[in-house]
């Protein structure tokens, strides 16, 4: 029984959900993407397990990106992003490590590699790491990121987005993805988002804006559920 469950735990990716690569206009995908197809392998214990208490290694608890260590608020529209980490059966994934990073309100990252002529915000580092609770919920307070251009010949702009890296219960549930904002026209022109063929799959990367009456006057509110690969038992603490 246990073995049967394990074998059925990961279905093949549905058509159109994974990005189509390499991507026109994203130069690095032409030199970094494997040219050979990945080999199908049997799933053994190594693939269906993962670290049980990763927060002992990766410090969690940086859920407030908007407030700097000096006690000053970052520039931009304050917003709270919350949602649940789920498995393919819709079961909450507790104790997932959720890492997120983003540009500031002017579309610039606090990162040595981002040398664009847009202002840095001394009160915004733009990254945090949290741990999902028993109901799989994560929550963080930040500011809405700005768009930024991709410096290639046929210029395109990345729409406002938040990068997510999620470490769930197994190696195969490891997910790196991005969250987008509803209604931004740049979404339709973003070569990265549009590399996903299935419109419904693209839509699942777009957060849902919460009604202001639900959220209040302090900040905007967005809801974004993150579904990981697999049907998993959650490692115990």
């Amino acid at each position: 029984m246990r073995n049967d469950t394990r074998r059925r735990m990961y279905d093949p990716w549905p058509e159109g959900v994974q990005p189509t690569v390499p991507i026109e206009g994203y130069t690095n995908t032409w030199t970094h993407t494997p040219s050979q197809p990945a080999y199908r392998r049997p799933l053994t214990r190594t693939e269906v397990t993962g670290p049980a208490d990763l927060w002992r290694k990766l410090h969690c608890g940086d859920s407030n990106l908007a407030l700097s260590t000096t006690g000053k608020l970052a520039q931009g529209l304050l917003m709270e992003v919350t949602g649940r980490i789920l498995d393919e059966d819709g079961r909450p994934v507790a104790n997932a490590i959720v890492e997120l990073w983003q540009a500031n309100a002017a579309g610039r990252y606090t990162h040595a590699l981002d040398q664009r002529a847009a202002p840095l915000d001394p009160n915004f580092l733009g990254h945090g790491r949290v741990r999902s609770d028993e109901s799989g919920t994560y929550r963080f307070l930040t500011i809405k990121p700005g768009a930024y251009p991709v410096p290639v010949k046929d210029t395109w702009w990345r729409p406002p987005h938040i990068h997510f890296s999620v470490l769930g219960p197994s190696t195969l549930s490891r997910l790196v993805t991005q969250m987008y904002f509803p209604g931004d026209p740049l979404n339709d022109w973003d070569r990265i988002l549009q590399s996903i063929g299935d419109p419904a799959a693209r839509q699942r990367l777009v957060a849902r804006q919460l009604h202001p009456a639900e959220v209040g006057v302090d900040h905007l509110g967005f809801h974004h559920d993150i579904v990981l690969r697999g049907r998993n038992a959650t490692p115990e603490a």
């Binding site: 394990r6 990716w13 959900v17 994974q18 690569v21 991507i23 994203y26 690095n28 995908t29 032409w30 030199t31 970094h32 993407t33 494997p34 040219s35 050979q36 990945a38 392998r41 049997p42 053994t44 214990r45 190594t46 693939e47 397990t49 993962g50 670290p51 049980a52 208490d53 002992r56 290694k57 990766l58 789920l86 393919e88 059966d89 819709g90 079961r91 990073w101 990162h111 981002d114 990254h127 790491r129 990068h163 890296s165 219960p169 197994s170 190696t171 195969l172 490891r174 997910l175 790196v176 990265i192 996903i196 693209r202 699942r204 990367l205 579904v227 990981l228 690969r229 959650t234 115990e236």
Partner: protein, 205 residues
């Protein structure tokens, strides 16, 4: 309510980590699996080793700021995870997970203890390391499994290694670099893109 909640869901699409993965996310000791955390004592179980090498892209140029994540069994071949029937006997001082970050020259390294073999469904898994690579231009996370040169018989029977075409299997065996500073050291270079036979074989995730 319960039924609705447990509706079949489709996983979110993968994306690249891009060029701006926060440097603060990599702390000293993150690539050292012998310690459960930076301030913990090293585990007393198992033979320590160092794994080092490079990440390269098409043409062999180095990839800087690639993130590598290693997952492996403890010295006795066990995982502290409910999917392992012997989880309660797993080494409590061993997390089995580490993260490395490639330098401007594309160089990464891990320190760990050699994993043990284990038997599952009557088949023996040779000692192995599962490594995920992420980076700019990699829209999907890639994963491969590396094997130790000391176990040719076990490797020849391994259910994962033997799914590869025979002529590619040698590519996933670590290079024995001997003892460096008193620690057994292995080498492995990733080539993300290149012709068959040079490009690192990756497995479906």
């Amino acid at each position: 309510m319960e039924d609705l909640q447990h509706m079949r869901r489709i996983p979110l699409s993968q994306h690249t980590i891009g060029p701006f993965f926060p440097a603060d996310y990599f702390r000293p000791g993150d690539n050292d699996l012998t310690r459960l955390s930076a301030d913990a004592e090293p585990t007393g179980k198992g033979t320590p080793f160092v794994l080092t090498g490079t990440v390269r892209k098409e043409g062999g140029d180095p990839v800087a700021n690639a993130i590598l994540e290693l997952w492996q069994a403890d010295a006795a071949g066990r995982f502290r995870h409910p999917e392992d029937p012997e989880a309660d006997k797993a080494d409590p001082d061993f997390l089995g997970w580490g993260r490395a970050w490639s330098t401007i020259e594309g160089v990464y390294d891990f320190r760990s203890v050699r994993p043990g073999p284990y038997v599952e469904d009557g088949r023996k898994r040779a000692p192995h390391l599962n490594i995920i690579v992420m980076g700019i231009g990699l829209m999907r996370t890639v994963e491969t499994t590396l094997f130790f040169p000391e176990f040719p018989e076990e490797n020849a029977q391994d259910p994962v290694l033997t799914t590869l075409p025979e002529d590619l299997r040698h590519m996933l065996i670590l290079r024995d670099l001997g003892e460096v500073d008193g620690v057994q050291t292995y080498g492995f270079d990733f080539l993300l893109r290149g012709p068959r036979g040079l490009e690192t074989p990756f497995f479906e995730t």
